[in-house]
Symmetry: C2
């Protein structure tokens, strides 16, 4: 088992092989994480998890345990195999980015979009397309009457985790979301952790 | 006023300037349309409407009349100014594509994804990124309990239309969705039409 700490407001990339397990842990609780999965040949990432194609594949806004996230080519890339959190996650909202913080009056603020580019570059990987819509673990965006969206604070507790199985060799990026102007994470940004276990072993 | 017919199962691209009105008309009723908006400099389209960024901007699954679609850089690109249909549209589901039809047992079937590439190429425009998640006018994908999605048949009537105002110079592509294996459009594919009016005139 390998463990990668993701300091508050930053991101880390890990490479996994088909069959490996990836656990994303909310170490202190109440922290939103933006998760991305990419694949490709060599160092160029040409395919990525897709929120829209996943919704169409499962007829649901977010996978249930046992269901898979698919890529923009509709190929399964990650399966949700366990969730010890209250199970509230989001797949409707984009990564926070420089334009978002500029509109909030905080130009130059860290963002999940910039974190993603940094983490991939540090891992020696290239991705030139637009930022894919992330899998926002522990993020609470309930859909109400008439399709209205509410932005609530994460309800995850210390140690809560989602476990994903890689369905193909891929690069997974986890950003501990730096958003501290809209209260989607609990007071104070906190770290996440990524645990990976080779080829279907048990991370527990 | 310019009118462009969109034959069943095909797409057309139109260029519009900031302030122009674009009306997408369901000529015979019950026909889903995939709408895309791109901008850029010269012939290279580098920015596009974004479903995810639009949701975050309006706190809603689909804009109400008076609200805007924004790009992946969070800039307003289209505003919904009128809707004479029953008002059921989708912004959760991706464009149908070759992988979708292969999975449905119909490899080689026409698709909105291929239609988009063709229509842009015919208009002399280039776009190399992944297909953006479309604005699916007249498509009924209600969100039920626990985030479950239902695929219902379009309820739009002959002549129903949505009118959009361009907030910047852009290229708009409308695909009369060729999906005839899942009953999202009423029996038999039918045409759409695009009417454009320069600089805020009245298309009626």
């Amino acid at each position: 088992m390998n463990r990668t700490e993701v300091p508050p407001g930053t991101a880390r990339a890990v490479r996994v092989g088909a069959g490996d397990l990836v656990r994303v842990i909310d170490v202190e609780g109440g922290q939103v994480g933006d998760v991305f999965a990419f694949t490709g040949s060599g160092r160029e990432l040409t395919e990525h998890h897709s929120a829209a194609h996943t919704r169409a594949g499962i007829d649901r806004l977010f996978p249930a345990v046992g269901e898979s996230f698919v890529t923009d080519r509709r190929r399964p890339i990650l399966t949700l195999v366990e969730d010890t959190s209250p199970g509230e996650h989001d797949m409707l909202i984009p990564a926070c980015d420089p334009a978002r913080y500029a509109a909030l009056g905080a130009p130059g603020h860290r963002s999940c979009a910039a974190n993603l580019r940094e983490a991939l570059a540090e891992a020696g990987m290239g991705f030139t397309g637009p930022i894919p819509q992330p899998i926002n673990v522990f993020m609470r965006i309930p859909v109400g009457e008439d399709g209205r969206l509410s932005w609530l604070t994460a309800s995850s507790r210390p140690g809560d985790a989602v476990t994903l199985r890689a369905e193909m060799d891929c690069v997974i990026v986890v950003s501990a979301c730096p958003q501290d102007l809209v209260r989607i994470s609990d007071a104070g940004l906190s770290p996440l952790a990524i645990e990976t276990v080779h080829n279907g072993g048990n991370p527990a």
